[in-house]
């Protein structure tokens, strides 16, 4: 019995009702949260930047720990991505953190293809998730989500603005991932230069249509802080795991002859802002945006590529089953067609070759017919000659016999004549 034959009576309007007491469903968010906490969280950070710009150091500083890393050489022939996953825990929250670094980015002489491995990696993670989502028997809630939630783009503090490689790369990535641009090694830029640099960078991004991640301002709880942070982009950061003593505390800093740059001093750099925004305030939003915006876009494009549509030519909307069945039918028809084509090709080939061979056979026969005829001719000739000879021989024999007979007669006469003569003599 088809599902749409149900006789459903529905009150169309959604009524608002007053509660006569405490029911208790206000604990729903807590129930949801405790389930999420029990399951653990996933977060994946992609760091894009030149070799030696401070990606690993920043990660170590952000998470107050030491992640494994080998120092990369400058001689990579192409950009590679190195993902590493760690289990972190803070109070009762378990976080599965994956950091992905671009190794060899910006080192090649020809950097035209530099963005490709990054794009491929991001797409591969989307593809992995999509595959799982499309399986018949799937376990989505179990699946380790490897999609990149945030891309920190490290801008070198050297020039007066963005490099063309930066613009190209960010433009290619902005529809695939949340990008937060940061100015690395900010302790090499003076305050006034920094302000100018920030303005320059932001205006270049805007004029090139690069969409970077905007901290969300819809939620009243965080709207204020987010709006203010949006104006400080890109963040100028410094990373350091070394600590020096300041007053009676140990703080993370970089020690120079002319002073010490404190990582967590907001006058010195924007590290604290970055940490606030990234981890404390907007982590969940980053995950949500990745899933509902970037992943959906990838999925939509992929499905359209495969020929899926939501509505048919007569704008009749397809159910999943119809879509799959249609695809399957198409597919089977295609297979059948290929098979028939191949068979047909063979039939033709056989016919051709048969005709060829028949031709050859005919030729052969003709040739031999010809030879036979020649042979017959020769035989006839031979016969003629033989007859000639026979005739000549017969003629000759006749002559001989005749001559011999004559001779025989003559001899007889001759032998008689002398007899006569003698007789005559005697008279």
């Amino acid at each position: 019995m088809a599902a749409n034959e149900v006789d459903v009576f529905a009150h169309e309007e959604k009524r608002n009702l007053e509660l006569g007491g405490h029911v208790g469903f206000d604990s729903l968010p807590d129930q949801l949260v405790s389930k999420s906490v029990a399951q653990g969280f996933c977060f994946n950070i992609l760091c894009v930047g030149e070799t030696g710009i401070g990606k690993s150091t920043l990660m170590n500083t952000l998470f107050n720990t030491t992640f494994e890393n080998e120092e990369a050489s400058h001689y990579q022939s192409e950009v590679q991505l190195r993902p590493q996953t760690y289990d972190l825990q803070e109070s009762n929250v378990n976080l599965k953190l994956t950091t992905v670094h671009t190794v060899g980015f910006g080192d090649q002489i020809n950097k035209e293809e530099s963005y490709k491995p990054i794009l491929e990696y991001i797409d591969a993670q989307f593809e992995r998730f999509l595959e799982e989502e499309l399986k018949i028997k799937r376990s989505l809630f179990n699946c380790h989500d490897t999609r990149i939630h945030i891309c920190l783009y490290f801008i070198a503090p050297t020039g007066h603005s963005l490099k063309s490689l930066d613009l190209v790369t960010m433009k290619k990535l902005d529809s695939k991932v949340n990008i937060i641009p940061i100015i690395a090694k900010a302790d090499t830029v003076s305050k006034s230069e920094l302000d100018k640099l920030k303005i320059k960078i932001m205006s270049e991004l805007v004029s090139n249509g690069v969409q970077i991640y905007q901290f969300p301002t819809e939620d009243e709880a965080v709207a204020e802080i987010n709006t203010s942070m949006n104006t400080h982009l890109p963040f100028a950061v410094i990373g350091s795991v070394e600590e020096i003593k300041m007053g009676n505390k140990m703080v993370k800093a970089r020690l120079y002859p002319w002073g010490s740059v404190q990582v967590e001093n907001e006058n010195h750099c924007d590290f604290v802002k970055l940490r606030e925004m990234l981890l404390r305030v907007n982590m969940e939003d980053l995950r949500e945006q990745t899933h509902t915006r970037h992943y959906e876009l990838y999925r939509r494009c992929k499905l359209e590529e495969m020929g899926f549509k939501d509505t048919g030519p007569d704008s009749h909307s397809f159910s999943l089953q119809e879509t799959y069945e249609a695809k399957r039918k198409e597919f089977l028809v295609d297979l059948q067609r290929k098979e028939d084509e191949m068979r047909q090709m063979f039939v033709n080939k056989v016919k051709e070759t048969e005709a060829e061979l028949k031709e050859k056979e005919k030729e052969l026969h003709e040739r031999f017919e010809q030879l036979k005829r020649m042979h017959q001719e020769e035989k006839k000739n031979l016969e003629e000659k033989r007859r000639e000879l026979e005739e000549e021989m017969n003629a000759f024999n006749r002559r001989r016999v005749a001559a011999e007979t004559l001779m025989g007669q003559a001899l007889q006469g001759c032998s008689q004549q002398p007899f006569k003569k003698d007789k005559d003599k005697k008279k």
């Binding site: 149900v6 009576f9 509660l19 469903f25 604990s27 389930k35 939509r300 080939k349």
Partner: protein, 429 residues
């Protein structure tokens, strides 16, 4: 028991944090976002009319879902089993809940109740189907979750055990939805009768292998103790009331009898509070999760397996199901390509062999003909030679004989000449 899916635990490097990082705030972020989104829940109530389903709903949610303006289904006349849904929006403590109550008037009321569960099954399936279609669209927008998260099944308080209809219904629905059986109008049973009844019911449920909703174990030992206590009380015996009565100065919901008041929210009178706590305050989210991760996935995989195995032999192994239908088609395509290649190779082979055979035959007959021709030629040549020889012999003979003749002729001539001479000389007298 409903199979809960296992969580895979791979081995990954651990790292200790040496200071404040800040992601411990993540749960708060999740909290905030979920409140902003709002919540949805669909509750289905099934049971014969007059068992107090509408009253219980009103009591559970402390609201007049069914009232004079919106009468409950029992108040209406119906001939066949229908499925009715009412959507209400309720707010509490800043949390918005869109509650959908699905009622099944007419269930079990006919004389012949065969297949009275079919409309219920159809409804549940159609909601899963809607969700599946929404989930599978190319352009997905917000997907409202109208799937049935929980089904409260009302058992009449006969005191003896389950009726065949109860068993049949629960068996058919336990794979599709979370089923929670309740003993309705529990104020007609004494505590002892209630205990026996519960034991009997649970025994029958186990005998028939009915999978009712199970409370998950938590990591907290305290919570687990509570959960075990609740499990011992299953199925919950409930009483509902629309009326508020004053007892000992307190206003309580209850049913007034000449011999006393049966209080709805009194744990010694019935298990209503247990039900409410479990259903709303502690396990609402879990009910939704089990619906999503177990029942819906079951529906989906059955649906998709049917699509892909359409027209293909059903001896495919279970391994097929770990792929998406598209991946499966891809694999079938590859298999087909290989099959065709093999077929092509075979046909080629056969073809080549036949061609070779024929060519060989042709060659053989050519050779044969050549040979015969050669033979005939040689034969002819031999004959020619023979003839030549004969002629030569003949010529020789002729030449010799002619030579001889010439000599003889000469002799004759000489002889006749001599005779003439002699004659002339008169030697002859």
């Amino acid at each position: 028991m409903i199979e809960r899916p296992e969580t895979a635990v791979p081995s990954i490097a651990q790292r200790n944090l040496e200071g404040y990082v800040g992601f411990a705030n993540l749960p708060n972020q999740v909290y905030r976002k979920s409140v902003k989104r709002g919540f949805e829940f669909t509750l289905m109530v099934v049971g014969e009319s007059g068992l107090g389903k509408s009253t219980l709903i009103n009591s559970l949610f402390l609201t007049d879902l069914y009232s004079k303006d919106y009468p409950g289904p029992s108040q209406r006349i119906k001939k066949t089993v229908q499925v009715e849904q009412s959507k209400v929006l309720i707010k509490e403590g800043g949390v918005q809940l869109t509650l959908t109550i699905v009622d099944t008037p007419g269930f079990g009321d006919a004389v012949d109740n065969s297949n009275c569960w079919q409309p219920v099954i159809n409804y549940i399936d159609s909601k899963c189907e809607d969700f599946l279609n929404a989930e599978s669209r190319v352009n997905r927008r917000s997907m409202p979750d109208n799937r049935v998260h929980c089904c409260l099944y009302f058992i009449a308080p006969s005191g003896h055990g389950l009726k065949p209809l109860d068993i049949e219904f629960m068996k058919r629905l336990h794979d599709k939805v979370n089923v929670i059986p309740l003993i309705a109008k529990a104020d007609t049973l004494t505590p002892e009768e209630c205990q026996l009844f519960k034991k009997q019911i649970m025994k029958e449920i186990q005998e028939h292998k009915i999978k009712i909703y199970e409370f998950p174990d938590t990591e907290d030992d305290e919570d687990n103790k509570l959960i075990r206590k609740i499990k011992e009380k299953m199925p919950l015996a409930v009483v509902g009331s629309n009326v508020v009565i004053e007892v000992n100065g307190k206003k309580v919901r209850g049913r007034q009898y000449p011999w006393g008041v049966a209080e709805v929210e009194n744990g010694e009178h019935c298990d209503f509070t247990v039900l409410r706590n479990m259903l709303i305050r502690t396990h609402m989210q879990d009910l939704k999760d089990v619906t999503n991760n177990v029942h819906y996935e079951n529906y989906r995989s059955k649906k998709l397996a049917a699509v892909t195995c359409n027209g293909v032999d059903n001896t495919k192994t279970k391994g097929q199901l770990t792929k998406s239908p598209l991946a499966q088609m891809e694999e079938e395509r590859r298999e087909h390509v290989m099959k065709m290649k093999k077929m092509e190779a075979e046909m080629e082979q056969v073809f080549e062999m036949k061609v070779k055979e024929k060519k060989q035959k042709l060659k053989d007959s050519e050779a044969e003909l050549e040979r015969r021709h050669e033979q005939m030629k040689r034969n002819l040549e031999a004959q020619y030679k023979e003839l030549e020889e004969k002629r030569r012999v003949y010529e020789d003979e002729k030449a010799n004989w002619e030579a001889q003749q010439r000599i003889l002729e000469q002799q004759k001539l000489d002889a006749s000449k001599t005779m003439e001479k002699n004659k002339k000389k008169g030697k002859i007298f």
